[in-house]
Symmetry: C2
Subunit: 489 residues, 2 copies
């Protein structure tokens, strides 16, 4: 295997696309905007799902499943919600095809639905319509439910993983007795996402609150985690919404409180999607292909025997066997690749390109010397190690790779985050990429002007950022604090 | 909690529906034919998924994900396939809504799709269109891929889990170089399903081949597993299809064989769905509620303290703690329910109704005597046990329950499977329910006549059934062997 990859410095967007295709992560399907997630990509997504699902369960959530279809009238019940999603809806209007002698298979006009169904772009409406039947009293609260599902938003310009018409995600939908509890839940789940991003994806994130114009359609407050990609563009990696009582009011979801009075329920929703695959790729990968943090690598260690003949191969198998067993005992996933239809060089290139964190090669000389050759994907360094305690050594190495990837990404972000004080300086600096911290007067007009003139958006108001007041870089009006700007995916 | 459940003997269909609703497994949504799978139901489905997924991976399969939508023309490419699915398709025709001053939110007529999209009823067509790009040479084969997904078939008469417009399932789609390999794969996956049904669901199944009229639309041969429900009706619990070269031909999927010649690829597909939830319920549950085999129970053991005051409760907590730890060390899932808002009697009823396999109660006298009270859900027996080695005892008990459920279901099936020789006898016997083994002349006409006159269908031609020839019970014409008849879900 010798896949040719566009260099990042030459064309980052092309590099990304090449990598996704050639590392067998995903490809475009014939259905406009819908992707096929290939086995190598899906295996990484499965590891993300497993880790997130455990974190959700540890924080008291359970999974459930709600319908794919939403009656049009439900979507319309929350005014700003339908406003936000109406322009990108897949609409089911009929439920039958029939044969037509002239045109082949056609939609049967007799089978028109009385009310059109929308393929869910998100499930607040169908879920809150269901919650009405589930919530009667404060004893039924909190209701802490998550769903793993596919959703559809009819995007016109799509990019694999980053923006597709259909994508996979999880959506948490919780119901609470008080405003305060719902806000705490919103923040708790933001923290879960931040922890997942940092501990599993090895991707540092900044936590903040969106401005009104970037808020989820139907939310009172949208919290987000933002990451910086290698090309200096920001990527929103997860959002957690405090929905107030908007959906409870739209769907008449009331509960009897401890004082025996009827109140509307308080809501949150929160989600991350296969977009995280794009974030993962653009945070760590290089001109040699995919780089995976060990905790998300479907196979963490590939072991390649280098043998001239079947006899040598058998000897290497015997030599490797206790090492493989020791690695597996530690819960490390290992592939011993003795497929003799492929040459070792081809295998090395394949594992490098597909991001296997550690590759071990074993040849006849290693058997003589009691050694193995260990290559790490993140730095591309190779070293010959004594085979004694190899499982311990590899375990430490995997942890070192996980840490190194995080530290490298953190350093990159820190080197590319800076404060700017004038709009002139801002316009110059934004061309270099990165996060810019600048004062803003808090108006949507100024936000929109900056966006139009520089293509930069306010990524968020940092939760734990500097709170020193100042004056807006654009209008000079008072600003309560700096906010985080960037060009974004 | 004191849910009232219709008795099975009074109205089996009503009992089933009551149970699904009241045990919080699922409910109907407002979207016609689509169900909501509630947390307790979904947790069981997750355990099924996890076990099946491991079995698929052990047999060399990997997961991937393909688009939800299928262009209408793709569905039409395989003639018998579209014939089979055209009448129950959800059709997407538009991709945008808009506001209308008079009618609120309406479908935007400007946003009509050039080609309608079908919400997948199954994915052979979109997958084989994709495989064309993945398969070039015999080296790319076999391709062993599975997908976990939602699918939609517009059923007019729906029942929770058993027949719903949207359901969750897995669909395996494999590609092979030879007819023989594809047939082996079809049979291998049928065996996986049979093993899963028997070892996990504790549900005995019969393996067989469908007659031509019951074959999957597009298959050369459909294999199935059939189970007998408590009311004497059969339920098809899983199918595995040998697709021949039908889809490869419809989508031009060719490979270069070892002799360097181009050949069409051989295919299989196989699936099980949330229908298995219905099978599980109808195999084991009783007039007291849900009965779950321990291997699929989200919580296997519920421990309920019985205390008069907080001091006693604390003493019981301390007494129970080492037992809980020992149970968890064995990988047994345990819930210690010290919620003081609910009375013990309420909890007992709840755990019984929702099918927790084992319930342990601990009161003050137990502490004095060094005992616990253990109740098993399958037989409703209670016994006082010494707390010493309780984890070992519970582990054995869970295994005993798993075995007992299987044996009971097996005995039920064996008692309700019989050979009949005349059509007169058949008509009498079919009213009693159960499987009937009878001779059939092999024609669709006879099969159809039996169906119309008795509502019984040929469930399958058993893979390992009696092969003695005879004469058709209806026409008297020669029959090569008895086939399996039943009324079915």
């Amino acid at each position: 295997m010798s896949e040719i990859l566009t260099k990042r410095a030459d064309d980052y967007a092309q590099w990304y696309n090449d990598l996704v295709l050639k590392a067998d992560l995903a490809e475009h399907s014939d259905v406009r905007g819908c992707m096929v997630i290939k086995p190598h990509g899906y295996a990484i997504w499965e590891k993300m799902q497993r880790a997130l699902d455990e974190m959700f369960k540890e924080t008291g959530h359970v999974n459930a499943y709600f319908p794919l279809f939403i009656p049009k009238s439900y979507l319309a019940k929350e005014a700003s919600h339908v406003e936000g999603f109406a322009k990108e809806c897949a609409v089911v209007t009929h439920y039958r095809l029939k044969s037509d002698p002239e045109h082949g298979v056609v939609v049967d006009p007799e089978a028109k639905l009385e009310e059109e169904l929308i393929v869910r772009p998100t499930s607040e409406t169908i879920i809150w319509n269901t919650y009405r039947g589930w919530i009667k009293s404060y004893r039924d609260l909190p209701l802490l439910i998550n769903q793993w599902a596919n959703v559809v938003r009819w995007e016109m310009r799509t990019r694999l993983f980053l923006r597709t018409a259909e994508f996979l995600w999880q959506e948490g939908h919780t119901a609470h007795a008080t405003r305060q509890e719902a806000i705490e839940e919103t923040e708790r789940m933001l923290d879960v996402y931040a922890r997942f991003a940092e501990e599993w994806l090895a991707m540092p994130v900044l936590k903040g609150i969106k401005t009104a114009s970037e808020r989820f359609a139907g939310a009172e407050e949208t919290y987000c985690i933002e990451a910086l990609m290698q090309d200096g563009k920001a990527l929103q990696a997860g959002t957690s919404h405090f929905l107030g009582q908007n959906f409870a009011k739209a769907f008449d979801v009331l509960f009897t409180n401890k004082e025996n009075r009827q109140e509307h329920v308080w809501a949150t929703s929160w989600g991350v999607s296969t977009r995280l695959m794009g974030a993962l790729i653009m945070t760590h990968s290089d001109d040699h292909g995919l780089v995976l943090p060990p905790k998300l690598a479907p196979v963490q260690v590939a072991v390649v025997p280098i043998a001239k003949n079947e006899e040598q191969l058998n000897a290497i198998r015997a030599y490797a066997q206790p090492m493989l067993a020791a690695l597996r005992t530690k819960g490390i996933t290992v592939k011993f690749d003795d497929d003799d239809k492929k040459k070792p060089g081809w295998k090395f290139a394949e594992y490098e390109f597909k991001g296997y964190p550690v590759r071990i090669a074993i040849g006849p000389r290693d058997m003589e010397n009691g050694t193995v050759e260990v290559a790490r994907r993140d730095t591309l360094e190779k070293s010959v190690m004594q085979a004694t305690d190899i499982a311990d050594k590899v375990e430490h190495l995997l942890q070192a790779i996980q840490d190194n990837l995080y530290q490298k990404a953190l350093a990159m972000r820190e080197n590319n985050t800076r404060a700017v004080d004038s709009y002139e300086e801002f316009k110059v600096e934004i061309e270099k990429g990165g996060f810019l911290l600048a004062h803003w007067d808090g108006t949507p007009e100024t936000e929109e002007r900056v966006k139009e003139e520089t293509k930069a958006t306010i990524r968020c108001i940092l939760l734990d950022g500097d709170q020193t007041p100042g004056s807006c870089m654009v209008t000079g009006r008072p600003s309560t604090r700096r906010v985080l700007f960037a060009r974004a995916y």
